[in-house]
């Protein structure tokens, strides 16, 4: 399908997208998670430890949480490839890690008491949401450990995936022996939580800069928060807008262009794993009929944005999209790219397309 209106328009005109956007913002206020606001929420591990609980009460919570996790067995796995009991039990450990202030043990009324970053009642509620509503663990604790970073996330912002970590490695490899790229200007389109942009910002040279764009106001806010947390305000610049639009002044100037745009075919959205389909923003997932609307749109713009020798890396849905993209770049893009490569993720799925502008 080749529609010719601009992607920004298309996003708003596509009925599915509109409802998606709508639903992703509203769904959270229907279910118990706190309503999405544009102000970034403080993740659990950064909240002040102003609550406390007797260690025996915490133990009770722990036992309860474990039995709830065990009751799941493999039902979620069978249902939609969701988490099993083992994984949920590990999450309990991490939830405690985030909720409990370390070395906080004190004594209260002859009871060992433990300082917490949320009230115990809320801890019950959070775990209930995790298991019963399938709220993603990362939204429950408000952060995702990604590479060596801890990124804040919340409803309305896509939780960065482990696969995507590799984009930063790919960039790391090309900037290693190439000062032009290392000290150059990079762009991360659809930055979400800011993951890729921050990852790249930390491996570029002192002269390197990253511009990160996103259409979603929630992503824009959260990415800003994360960029600040890593002290990268001078390295990563955020611009709100659709794909390459905010980069009009950068034509032919980019040393590198990376993106993990929405790539799931629209038809697959309804069958997604509950954590994803019910809780993550559709605007971050839905890539149109064959999932390639945004990828192709970005590819089209890439040639004009990259300077000669510039590098690009895109994440895709897998083998089929990778091939499609390479084909497109070889044929339709008028031979402006070279060294096209398909790179697999650690699960062995062909995940990324990389290459250079001639």
């Amino acid at each position: 399908m080749k529609l010719s209106f601009s992607p920004k328009l298309s996003t708003f005109l596509k009925p599915s997208s509109v409802t998606n956007l709508h639903r992703s913002f509203c769904s959270s206020s229907i279910s118990s998670p706190p309503p999405t606001s544009l102000k970034p929420q403080t993740p659990l591990f950064l909240k002040p430890p102003i609550h406390s609980a007797a260690s025996s009460d915490l133990q009770k919570w722990h036992d309860w949480a474990k039995s709830l996790a065990s009751s799941v067995g493999s039902t979620f796995v069978d249902l939609d490839n969701g988490p099993d009991s083992t994984l949920l039990c590990r999450e309990i450990k991490w939830l405690m890690e985030d909720a409990i202030e370390e070395e906080s043990e004190g004594m209260e009324n002859n009871q060992r008491s433990i300082r917490l970053r949320v009230a115990l009642e809320e801890l019950y509620m959070l775990w209930k949401q995790r298991v019963e509503e399938r709220r993603p663990f990362q939204y429950v604790v408000g952060c995702e450990h990604w590479r060596d970073l801890v990124l804040c996330v919340q409803e309305g912002v896509l939780i960065p995936r482990p696969e995507t970590e590799l984009i930063v490695d790919l960039v790391g490899d090309v900037v290693l022996g190439n000062e032009g790229l290392r000290e150059g200007l990079w762009a991360d389109l659809g930055t979400g939580s800011g993951a890729i942009a921050i990852g790249i910002g930390r491996i570029l040279g002192t002269g390197g800069r990253v511009i990160a764009t996103d259409l979603s106001p929630a992503a824009f806010e959260v990415a800003g928060f994360n960029v600040q947390r890593y002290g990268l305000q001078d390295v990563v610049e955020l611009r709100q807008g659709s794909w390459l639009e905010p980069l009009k002044d950068m034509e032919g100037k980019l040393a590198g262009l990376v993106s993990n745009p929405p790539y799931i075919p629209s038809d697959d959205i309804s069958g997604l794993q509950a954590e994803v389909g019910r809780h993550e923003p559709k605007v971050a997932l839905d890539g149109g009929i064959n999932g390639m609307d945004d990828l192709l749109h970005i590819c089209k713009g890439a040639a004009s944005m990259l300077k000669p020798g510039g590098f690009f890396a895109f994440e895709t849905n897998g083998e089929k999209q990778c091939k499609h993209l390479v084909e497109y770049m070889e044929n339709d893009a008028g031979g402006s790219f070279c060294n096209l490569k398909i790179v697999p993720d650690f699960a062995g799925i062909n995940r990324f397309v990389t290459g250079f502008h001639k």
Partner: protein, 572 residues
């Protein structure tokens, strides 16, 4: 000529004066200063010497041993500078002081001695300095006081800096010399005399001396003294090669090992000399009817006797890798849930043991059994000498009990295999790993992944294709961190493999888990029909399995370590 001078002096009594002022002596000859500096602090088992101490002394040693590379020259100069100053201030002070009054103080800290003449005098531990003197060197020292200063000066100035050759000679002499008392008593002769060893509180110098001599004998055995000397000769030759630093990695390795072995050798030698000098003192004190000196020397012997016990234990952990942190890996044997449960019990035993020892532990990888327990797990144990102790646990552990998982309450025998891998912190000693030799895998539950999936599971397995060695990590919260953690495990396994290949020692503890044959049973835990834990290697046994499973392992570990080092007479 010199020994003649010495005897003369000694007979005239002036030697005593010198002994009371070891300060002066230790500072005169550079190698003496150095041996004082480098003498490792006595350590206890629970508080092993800090690695910084070690590396310090290594550096000092390297300088003085080889004295040839440009690096050593530079450092030597600094050393010389300080030698010079000390010599000056102390000699002046010492020469005008009353010997006996000076000897009573007891200081502890070596560095402290550099502060002021005053502190240097009250610096009792430096008294050992003199015990380092061989007969020849005493001559040098015997020119005590002001006289010596010009001597030292000329030694330095005439050579325009440190003279590697003369130092080398001095050093060589020292290493080869069998220390003895004035009347020719050596450690071996003390042992041969078979003096009665009485309780520590019996004030009998022969008893103390015999006990200490036996300790020294045991320590040497544990250090595999003969092998150590041969290796040291080899390394010394290597270190003195002018082209050593053409290959910095190799050079680093060689000089590290050289420094570390040299340190061990010198520590024992110094201890030996200390013993003999105290004996000399006791005898002398009796000759001169000096009660104060006699009781003082007696106390010194008693102290040595106590320290020697600590040194015995220390010597159990003298292996190059012993100070390292380590991974402990437990794998369950055939037999399903009962075996998995046993593996989990074994792992729990190590966790508690490590915690009680004050080590930091973290779970790297854990594969739970379907119903209970674990199929395998790896923990990282962080802390000094973790590997030294834990290596004693390598092998198969066997459990006999009525299985709680068997509804008909039958007796079951289960097995769990334990592997221990040292973690070498020194990156330059690591085996180089080619990125292209690695296959990195993520466990996937199927499905297209990427944006489709939300999971907190980012476990990574790394396969080193040429060797087939794998490492897995799943307890980190990001894939990147799991990869780093698995990489670290893989690195240490490959290092261990390389180590085994190089030394071809193929000792039991150098095996990785994959090599463990299920035949190499080391310990049996019986909960039914009787209760006992027995080590099949040492026959050490305990009748309370609970305490063992609760981490009380030190008895087993120490008995194994001493058995494995003490049995081999040839290694002496």
């Amino acid at each position: 000529m010199s020994s003649f001078m010495f005897r003369k002096r000694a007979s005239s009594g002036s030697w005593v004066v010198l002994c009371q002022n070891p300060e002066a002596k230790t500072q005169f000859v550079p190698y003496l200063l150095f041996s004082t500096l480098s003498e490792p602090q006595p350590t206890t088992l629970n508080k092993p010497s800090k690695p910084q101490n070690l590396s310090n002394s290594i550096e000092n040693k390297r300088i003085l041993d080889s004295g040839s590379s440009s690096f050593s020259l530079k450092t030597s100069k600094t050393l010389l500078g300080s030698v010079h100053n000390h010599t000056f201030s102390r000699n002046i002070f010492v020469s005008g002081s009353k010997p006996l009054a000076l000897s009573s103080a007891s200081g502890k800290n070596i560095t402290g001695s550099h502060c002021s003449p005053l502190s240097s005098i009250s610096f009792g531990s430096q008294r050992r300095g003199i015990w380092h003197l061989s007969t020849e060197n005493r001559v040098l020292a015997s020119g005590c006081g002001v006289l010596v200063l010009p001597m030292v000066k000329s030694l330095y100035s005439s050579r325009g800096g440190l003279a590697p050759c003369s130092l080398g000679c001095l050093f060589g002499t020292q290493a080869a010399m069998e220390p003895s008392t004035c009347d020719g008593l050596t450690v071996d002769r003390i042992i041969a005399s078979e003096w009665l060893i009485l309780d520590e509180d019996e004030s009998d110098w022969k008893s103390h001396a015999a006990a200490i001599a036996q300790s020294i004998h045991l320590i040497k055995k544990r250090l595999q003294w003969k092998k150590l000397m041969i290796r040291l000769d080899l390394l010394s030759a290597e270190v003195n090669k002018p082209d050593l630093w053409n290959d910095p990695v190799h050079a680093g390795k060689i000089s590290r090992e050289h420094g570390s072995l040299m340190g061990k050798m010198k520590e024992v030698k110094a201890f030996e000399r200390e013993l003999l000098e105290h004996i000399d003192m006791v005898k002398l004190a009796r000759e001169e009817n000096d009660g104060e000196l006699e009781s003082e020397s007696m106390n010194a012997l008693l102290k040595m006797r106590i320290t020697s016990k600590e040194k015995e234990t220390e010597a159990l952990l003298a292996g190059e890798q012993d100070p390292c942190s380590c991974y402990i890996e437990v794998q369950s044997g055939a037999g399903g849930t009962e075996s998995n449960d046993w593996a989990a019990m074994v792992m729990q035993m190590y966790k508690v043991w490590a915690q009680q020892r004050g080590y930091k532990i973290s779970v790297v990888d854990e594969m739970p059994g379907e119903i209970a327990g674990i199929k395998r797990a790896t923990i990282k144990v962080d802390g000094e000498y973790a590997f030294g102790y834990a290596k004693a646990e390598v092998g198969v552990h066997r459990l006999v009990r009525i299985s709680p998982f068997d509804s008909s309450k039958r007796r079951h025998t289960s097995f769990a295999a334990v592997a221990v891998t040292p973690i070498n912190e020194d990156a330059s000693a690591h085996v180089q790993i080619n990125e292209s030799d690695l296959r990195i895998e993520r466990f996937r539950s199927g499905g297209p992944g990427g944006q489709h999936a939300n999971t907190t599971d980012s476990a990574v397995r790394i396969v080193h294709v040429p060797t087939g060695i794998t490492a897995t990590s799943q307890n980190e919260r990001s894939q990147h961190m799991n990869k780093a953690s698995a990489m670290a495990v893989l690195q240490s396994r490959l290092d261990q493999l390389e180590m085994a290949r190089q030394t071809q020692m193929n000792a039991q503890y150098s095996q990785s888990l994959t090599d463990i044959t299920w035949g190499s049973q080391i310990r049996s835990y019986v909960l039914h029909p009787y209760r006992m834990v027995k080590d099949l290697r040492t026959n050490y046994e305990v009748s309370d399995p609970d305490s063992v499973l609760e981490g009380d392992l030190d008895g087993f570990i120490m008995s194994y370590l001493s058995a494995s080092l003490d049995k081999d007479e040839d290694d002496r």
